[in-house]
């Protein structure tokens, strides 16, 4: 009974694979049109190696026509809708059509990576420790896919890589991953956790413009310092200026917002200083207020859409109670804004209790320093006195390459993301850089960030190319016995986003990037032109509004565009939208796989979790995701089922799930189980429920 429930082939999923089909066509098109020379060369190389290296692919079919001819008859009998499904097309990396080329030469990257390795080895040597051995190709590939592309590699991607004999194949795949569509999705997830990205904050307008702005920054590979500068200085309405979404994350709570800014971008341990002098860290409450004074004239208070709607209903003959919802929506969408109130100034709080200022006294902005010598740095060469340019002054200082912490902070974060542990932990406290496990390395990473002009992609390219990254993983170290000196990265459980996107990979192969969330366009009918918003303007707009204009707002208004520009929604399966984590509601609902597996609820920065729990394990064992990957139309399973022998089928699933071939003993065990009645779809359950699947080596 239960088995049937779990693995019954569902028509919905057949449709689902059809839906992902065009993405694969797009893959091939990309190979021709893509102008990124490097990636093209790499892909051609793989193409050449394909036939001899992948016997199992012949059954699967490298060419779409080939496979579908073999398969058509049987599929027709089974389900008419799936007749059009050809045999699985080769699943390989999609290079983003508009990816901008990488800037460093391969030689330069190798050099930079070697410098990092040297610093790590030096510190290991001092401590009389040895670096780990290098990873196998299988370990490396799965790790770098998860870190750079946010998902596991497909079976075909694994076999391509393993059969590639080029000496620089690791460098090649790193470049290809960084140029892929997948890289963007992965980067967005990382940012969304850090910046607490939510679709809606309190009752403010939707943050869709902010999210699409962030994605665009990633797509254009815009420098980090420029991105942060724009967020700090954004002004105006959220609906027309996505960058305003950062300050509007904490509407009406500028102090909380600033506390987050200083912690996230500088690693300044200021959280306590918001309310009192920090007992352990160097910050005083006065210093905190002096920093906050740069934002003294900024107003991010949440718009009372309800109030606006009430007033319109009261004074207008054209509207009554039943229009309230529409009016509230219109008001919030248009009125959420970062406003400048020139007369507004920050004062010390009523309960201020130190001698160095009086309660209620106006605060003069001042930039804080970590060290006396900081003042000499170019970052402090800003005019903090111009009352009209305070925010700009702050942002200039914050994002200046010579800011004492800005470059180090982001470098340290990226190291943590890719090694499982930062050079200095916690990432939220970099006040004393000598506390780093390897201070020289940390300083060097900051310098690298500057050298690369805050190009996060190039920076990670260097990290991925280092031997340090490519070494075997360690288990969680006991830091009470001393710092971790990076003989290799740490073993990590997948993030929620990596796990979800890997599930999609198993279901849809590399076509998983096909659907992209585009929610700003659907809001356009609601947008009121002009800067200064009046009640009258909202009223006028409301009169011209049609019911369908509100569609872009609904909680399920997840408007999608395919990568080839068509408007189409992703397939749904047992209520789940089969699109990547970055292309779903932000954050997901609490009962969603993503949240149960640790996606942050985005209330606190960097709050995603890698912890387990019983509800989570119940979900891994019995949840809907099992039905997606155990469905006979899911790509990994379907490709395996096409293999001529049981052994090949097992190998195929191992490659898809774990990125490696099974060893002889594993093969025997599975063969025995299959003989005793285990069915192939159940093997997807088994592999999914291993620790090896959810942990990244």
């Amino acid at each position: 009974m239960k088995k049937q429930l779990l693995f019954r082939p569902l028509l919905v999923l057949s449709a689902f694979l059809l839906c992902f089909g065009p993405a694969q066509a797009q893959n091939r098109k990309n190979k021709v049109t893509n102008r990124v020379m490097q990636a093209q060369r790499r892909q051609r190389m793989q193409e050449m190696q394909r036939p001899q290296a992948q016997p199992q692919n012949q059954a699967g079919g490298n060419r779409r026509g080939n496979g579908s001819k073999n398969r058509r008859g049987r599929r027709d009998e089974a389900t008419p809708t799936s007749a059009r499904i050809s045999a699985p097309v080769k699943q390989v990396l999609t290079v983003a059509p508009d990816a901008l080329p990488l800037v460093q030469s391969t030689l330069k990257v190798a050099d930079a990576a070697a410098k990092i390795d040297a610093l790590v080895l030096e510190r290991l040597g001092e401590a009389k420790q040895k670096p780990n051995a290098l990873t196998s190709d299988e370990q490396f590939l799965r790790r770098v896919y998860l870190d750079a592309a946010g998902r596991i590699p497909t079976r075909d991607e694994v076999t391509d890589f393993l059969s590639n004999s080029a000496p620089d194949k690791r460098a090649q795949i790193i470049d290809a991953l960084l140029l892929s569509q997948d890289y963007r999705s992965q980067s967005f997830n990382w940012l969304a956790d850090m910046l607490r990205v939510k679709d809606r904050i309190n009752k403010g307008g939707p943050t869709f413009t902010y999210q699409e702005w962030l994605k665009e920054r990633i797509t254009k590979n815009s420098p980090w310092n420029e991105t942060v500068y724009k967020m700090m200085t954004a002004e105006g309405r959220l609906i027309t200026n996505g960058a305003a979404g950062y300050l509007l994350r904490d509407p009406g709570m500028p102090l909380d917002n600033l506390s987050g800014t200083l912690t996230t971008f500088l690693g300044a341990n200021v959280a306590c200083a918001q309310c009192h002098d920090h007992p352990l860290a160097p910050w005083t409450q006065k210093q905190f207020y002096e920093m906050a004074a740069f934002f003294g004239d900024v107003d991010t208070s949440v718009v009372k859409g309800n109030g606006i709607a009430k007033r319109i209903i009261k004074q207008s003959d054209s509207f009554d109670e039943k229009d309230k919802k529409m009016l509230v929506a219109l008001a919030t969408v248009n009125a959420s804004a970062v406003k400048i109130v020139p007369r507004k100034k920050l004062a010390f709080p009523k309960d201020y209790k130190y001698d160095n200022a009086k309660p209620g006294e106006l605060v003069h902005p001042a930039l804080f320093t970590w060290d006396e010598s900081d003042k000499k740095s170019a970052a402090y060469n800003v005019d903090t006195n111009d009352p009209d340019k305070r925010r700009q002054a702050f942002a200039t200082w914050l994002t200046n390459p010579d800011n004492p912490r800005f470059a180090v902070a982001i470098a340290n974060r990226l190291w943590q993301k890719n090694f499982g542990l930062a050079v200095q932990e916690p990432i939220s406290d970099l006040d004393d850089l000598n506390k780093a496990s390897n201070p020289q390395l940390l300083v060097h990473l900051g310098a690298e960030m500057k050298r690369l002009n805050f190009d996060l992609r190039e920076f990670q390219r260097v990290l991925f190319n280092s031997k340090t990254y490519q070494r075997q993983a360690n288990i969680t170290p006991d830091l009470s016995k001393g710092p971790y000196l990076f003989p290799g990265p740490l073993l990590r459980r997948m993030t929620a986003e990596q796990a979800w996107d890997s599930v999609l990979t198993l279901a849809a192969g590399s076509g998983l990037n096909y659907y992209q969330l585009k929610r700003v366009e659907a809001l356009q009918p609601l947008v009121i032109a002009g800067d200064e918003l009046s009640l009258k303007m909202i009223e006028d707009k409301a009169k011209s509004l049609k019911p369908q204009d509100l569609k872009g707002l609904g909680p399920n208004a997840l408007n999608y565009e395919t990568i080839d520009g068509k408007k189409a929604p992703p397939p749904r399966f047992v209520g789940m939208i089969l699109a990547r984590a970055s292309e779903l509601e932000q954050p997901s609902k609490e009962s969603h796989f993503l949240r149960m597996f640790g996606e942050s609820d985005r209330e606190i920065a960097d709050d995603s979790s890698r912890e387990g729990g019983i509800p989570q394990v119940l979900m891994l064992m019995n949840g809907d995701v099992q039905r997606v990957i155990g469905n006979s139309d899911a790509l990994a399973l379907k490709s395996a089922a096409l293999q001529p022998t049981k052994e090949r089928q097992i190998e195929s699933l191992y490659l898809s799930f774990l990125g490696r071939m099974p060893n002889a003993s594993e093969k025997t065990k599975v063969l025995n189980a299959l003989t005793q009645g285990l069915e192939l779809p159940e093997l997807t359950w088994v592999l999914f429920n291993t620790r090896e699947f959810i942990f990244v080596q």
Binding site: K2, K3, L5, R196, D250, M253, D256, N257, N269, A271, C272, L280, Q416, G420, A422, E425, P426, I427, S428, D429, A473, I475, T476, D478, L479, S480, Y484, L491, E590, S591, D601, E603, I604, A605, D607, R610, E611, G612, G613, I614, P615, Q616, V617, L618, M621, N622, N663, E666, K669, V670, A673, L678, V686, L687, N689, T690, R691, E692, I694, F695
Partner: protein, 432 residues
């Protein structure tokens, strides 16, 4: 040590988790505390300075009812005459205090409950107020505070071998664990009629067990190669989950074992059935159960909505108190009626606005006086007139009843000290 105290990163988070692990549900094989014993748990309750005071540790179980939206105190537990009076008249009870006509069944159990009429707070916005009521701390962007169930688990250890120590009904777990590890997170039951999510009967079947054992076999090499604490934690979660799926206690989640009559008495709605499920869970030894009821934000149509919602609450609450008492569980089970804030005294015939300055909560059982009123509001219900009680004090009172060390600090992974009830004093007068 100070390095660890200041740490909020993944590894110190892990260290923190580890320090908490022994109190966690089922995590028995993690290594003992490394380095510091500051957070070693469970704490010895007897070492607590409050232990000799009345009511300490009487409540073995807690049922925390959460009326989200803001219960109108004046229309329920704190009736007023004159301008503030709402649509319902006050009625007397055998306990000597009055309730309103909206709660006829609660009138019948008034002699078993303790009404607190002098609650006071400053937060009048839903989400923030709900957060404050649930944690005794104001919401911040930098730390998440635990709910009472997690505090109990931290200090008292797990309440059951296979079942979770905290369950929340009609709502997701919403950070119930706060800064404690995810293992302290309450198990969510989104619909009491449906029981435990993803726990379909067959999942404890032989077939599942066979698949799981194959998974374990295939995973052997990996687990040997990486004897990692997080990997081991997962092994434990799988074992515990399977044990839970096969345990006879799983029946506790199945309401069909109750009589139709009793199910009717509680009310055939999510809140009523949730309260019944809570009682069943108390019986099998789940320590902390939170049951949510939505729809109390009565800005308009208060009379109609109080008639519906009020009846829903009234039936469930009265049935729960009577049922627990009849089964001899009320003396060891503390039922708390909580909300977000009260509602304004001025009543225009439609509804009432948010009013955190004064509102009511209720405690029943767990060593609390029966038929008692603690504190009072002024004539209009606008502000407390006697024995004002903060939300922190409300938490401290419940924590005291549960036998928690109120003055003991826990240093969160972000390096800040926190206590049950945010350093407030318990109201010892409520205890019998």
């Amino acid at each position: 040590m100070s390095h660890q105290m200041n740490a909020k990163d993944s590894v110190s988070r892990r260290a923190f988790v580890e320090r908490c692990a022994r109190a966690a549900f089922g995590l028995s094989i993690l290594p003992l505390v490394k380095g510091s014993a500051a957070l070693a748990a469970p704490q010895n309750a007897a070492a607590n300075s409050n232990a000799a005071l009345p009511g300490f540790g009487r409540a073995k179980n807690i049922i925390w009812l959460r009326l989200s939206g803001g219960l109108s105190h004046i229309d329920t537990f704190d009736p007023k005459t004159g301008e503030a009076q709402g649509p319902a008249k006050a009625v007397g009870t055998k306990a000597g205090f009055q309730l309103t006509e909206f709660l006829p069944k609660t009138v019948g159990v008034a002699d078993k409950i303790c009404v607190i009429r002098s609650m006071t707070a400053k937060v009048g916005v839903h989400a923030q107020a709900a957060y404050l009521m649930r944690t005794a701390y104001e919401q911040r962007g930098t730390v998440v505070h635990p709910a009472m169930g997690a505090w109990c688990q931290h200090y008292l250890g797990p309440s059951h071998q296979t079942l979770p120590s905290s369950v929340c009904i009609n709502q997701p777990s919403r950070h119930g664990n706060g800064f404690f590890p995810a293992t302290y997170s309450p198990l969510p039951i989104l619909d009491p009629e449906e029981g435990l999510q993803n726990s379909a009967a067959a999942s404890g079947s032989e077939r599942t067990a066979a698949r799981l054992s194959l998974a374990n076999e295939l995973d052997q090499d990996f687990r040997q190669h990486f004897p990692d604490e997080n990997v081991k934690a997962y092994n434990d979660f799988y074992d515990n989950t399977l044990r839970l799926m096969r345990s006879s206690e799983l029946k506790a989640f199945d309401l069909s074992n109750e009589t139709e009559k009793l199910r009717d008495d509680y009310g055939r709605n999510k809140f009523g059935q949730g309260c019944l499920l809570a009682r069943r869970l108390v019986q099998v030894g789940v320590r902390f159960i939170e049951v949510e009821s939505g729809g109390w934000d009565m800005h308009d149509d208060l009379e109609d909505r109080m008639t519906d919602k009020g009846n829903e609450f009234d039936s469930a609450f009265a049935a729960l108190v009577a049922d627990l008492d009849a089964q001899g569980l009320l003396d060891t089970t503390l039922v708390a009626v909580t909300t977000e804030f009260g509602r304004k005294p001025n009543f225009d015939g439609g509804g009432r606005g948010h009013h955190p300055i004064c509102f009511s909560t209720v405690l029943a059982g767990g060593g609390v006086k029966r038929g008692h009123v603690h504190g009072a509001s002024n004539a209009t219900g606008y502000e407390p007139a006697d024995k004002p009680m903060t939300i922190g004090s409300f938490h401290a009172t419940i924590g005291h009843a549960a036998g928690l060390p109120l003055t003991k600090e826990v240093v969160s992974p972000s390096g800040r000290p926190f206590t049950v009830g945010n350093k407030a004093q318990p109201a010892l007068e409520v205890f019998a």
